[in-house]
Symmetry: C2
């Protein structure tokens, strides 16, 4: 599995530094990534197709701060040089006219869009054949299955995903990589297939939280943190106790406890934050909002191609079509109240920590796992970073979420970087 891939990608920030210092070239990085994919992707199945030679030659020749950084792009993002199929036979062979905004902006910054990664059908629940690089018998999670697995297997240092329920944070947790679901609409979603327009959020995968911050800044020109926290002094961190904690497996609860212990030892003040009723109620509205919006968003596919839709998606859309506007409007009102309650939480803490999934990646490829602990923060639009590094007794990754106030993405990424460093530092772990 992972340890069988000694040629894993260097970290994104190391590649950027190596190009800057003329210790590497974009062409060499692109070639190395292609070799890694040729070596590893046969058993993982993260990539659907690779960019044509002329695109890669163009990327190799282009400058820009992300030159030499190869990117895997979830196949719900339009790419002008590769077909974009949204995980659906309805779009077989579909070739968009232009790139999605995030793809185009990454190219402007010099990145090499190396290929398209697997997605569940329309970023919903029907799984892909992609396997978890940590144990091929386990799901990598979804819906951004290929992007999480590609980074986990060391094929590329950066990948694009999206989250409507838990499709960035959960696969990041299962695959043991850093994942970033930014504040709602902070990264552009134009040219990304819509499932639910008040929930869909563009997100990123990389090896570390620091790499995520660097990539997001170089793509958007926006500050995403960078201050290196060397300890937790002055930080007030809440351990979030939610109404669904009973569903969380003991090992995952242990991971959050361990994260709290490490942060406490590093000087942070740790407090317990109980979920307010407004947020446990808001969580229950996710299904209604998602279903109602998906029924509109995929109206064309549902009307003309119902028989080509997967079983789980078909059921979501069948149900979505029965939701009355008044029920949707009520759910949106409840979500709005939840959003205010979420902001209020950050009056007393800087960030929250919480499980990134119910447990390690489930065995089998028939389900991509459960987004129960993720979907609240998608609904409220708060930034979330998955911090990798802790493992289950069975050797599978366990991710911890760092959640910040809406718009405080830089803070979430900085605390996540600190936590990731604390987990990685041998002296602090397992003492």
């Amino acid at each position: 599995m992972l340890d069988r891939h000694p040629t894993a990608a260097a970290r994104l920030s190391e590649i950027v530094a190596a190009i800057t210092d003329n210790r590497s070239t974009p062409a060499a990085e692109i070639e190395a990534a292609r070799r890694r994919i040729a070596e590893s992707d046969g058993e993982v199945g993260a990539f659907l197709r690779l960019a044509p030679q002329e695109s890669l030659a163009e990327a190799a020749a282009s400058g820009g701060p992300l030159a030499g950084v190869t990117v895997g792009v979830k196949d719900i993002y339009d790419t002008r040089d590769m077909t974009t199929e949204h995980g659906s036979p309805i779009y077989r062979g579909h070739r968009p006219v232009v790139d999605a905004s995030l793809v185009s902006m990454a190219r402007v910054a010099g990145a090499a869009i190396l290929g398209k990664t697997t997605t569940t059908e329309f970023a919903s629940l029907d799984p892909t054949p992609t396997r978890n690089p940590h144990d091929l018998d386990h799901t990598p999670g979804g819906s951004s299955s290929g992007s999480a697995a590609a980074v986990a297997a060391g094929m590329v240092p950066l990948a694009f995903g999206s989250q409507t329920g838990g499709s960035v944070i959960r696969p990041a947790s299962y695959c043991g990589v850093a994942g970033f679901k930014p504040s709602f609409r902070l990264l552009p979603t134009m040219g990304m297939k819509t499932f639910s327009y008040t929930l869909d959020t563009a997100g990123l995968f990389a090896a570390t939280a620091q790499d995520l911050a660097l990539a997001a800044r170089l793509i958007t020109g926006r500050y995403f943190g960078g201050e290196t926290l060397t300890d937790g002094n002055g930080l007030r961190i809440g351990v979030y106790r939610s109404a669904v904690d009973d569903e969380v497996e003991a090992e995952m609860q242990g991971a959050v406890t361990e994260a709290a212990r490490l942060l406490d030892r590093a000087g942070a003040a740790i407090v317990t934050v109980e979920e307010p009723a407004a947020l446990s109620t808001a969580r229950t509205c996710h299904t209604t909002i998602q279903g109602f919006e998906a029924a509109m968003a995929l109206s064309g596919e549902y009307r003309r191609h119902r028989e080509q839709l997967g079983e789980k998606l078909g059921a979501i859309l069948d149900h979505g079509a029965t939701i009355e506007p008044a029920e949707y409007d009520d759910a949106r009102r409840t979500a709005r109240i939840g959003r205010k309650a979420a902001s209020a939480l950050f009056e007393t803490v800087d960030v929250l920590i919480a499980p990134s999934a119910l447990g390690p990646a489930p065995r089998g490829l028939t389900s991509t796992g459960d987004a129960l602990v993720n979907k609240l923060w998608t609904l409220t639009g708060n930034p979330v970073v998955n911090v990798p590094g802790l493992v289950s007794g069975g050797g599978l990754p366990l991710g911890v979420s760092v959640i910040a106030r809406f718009g405080k993405d830089a803070l979430a990424l900085e605390v996540a970087s600190l936590l990731q460093a604390l987990i990685a530092a041998p002296l602090d772990v397992r003492t």
Copy 2:
């Protein structure tokens, strides 16, 4: 001009009633619309292309509450059976895989999507060759030029447009038709080309405000009003005095005064509402928000096809690329404050009335006119209905906007229906 088209479309609500009562058939309505287009569109130029015969046959055979209603669709909405070019050579011959959500939902309701109407390039400012049916030497307005003109010339009883600045309400005013810019995101925008994702709003054109309410309800299943107000008793209506009123031509100011007089005579209480500073400030943020978002939304087109972009759009995107994220974030904060101030206005009045444009349609086809009086309400997301019926000394239409609180679309449409009836009733007008 208009009076040379004796075969103008029946009103949408009359067609729906005629089909229900078996006094007409969908096939007959579709055939009649095709005849009207063949007769009138040579000089108007509202339609770019018509649906293939098999689509119209399918629509003729389908049931549904909108059966027999023919629709013109602005060419920034995806249609699976007609190319969709966004007014740009970059998309020449582009055929989407599925329909835009609004198009698909209209088909589900039984409507016949008759053809695609002209749009300025990417719904921006570079004009189309479409002419104003009231005077062919004048612009129909933009960006929804073809949709407004098609309804004004009586070719179709319903057309789809979109508004990012003033692209529904202004052309509706210039062309003398009812136009509806709903509350932000109330009609779905999936499959509509994005220009500015916090501003783009799907909208409708029809002969009357009542027709707009009926069409919106039958497409979405949502209540959009229907109560027929026979007088203004109990209504409190504000005449909105904005910081840009100096720019409004005297004839248009007279139209608003006339509307207020009619509503007053009908029993409504009329008050003057002065624009709060938060809203005059918010108006000035529109350009920054639109430019920053458009630069991301059209990043792919700008990067690969800069030389194929029109002059005005090119300038918007050149400028958009220079806007710093912090400047955009400031503008969004100012818009948010404006949105709250807009809500507060409706604590004391039910609706506001205001000019729908600076004056009648300007002469010439080199500009689509100015959105100065419209863009504030696009920014705040409030529902706006253009009420037609008043005319300038030169015989050109002058539209009056009815503006309601966010989410109170039904109220806006009901008051607009009342005002339209008051304008049309011979005894009340011009006394």
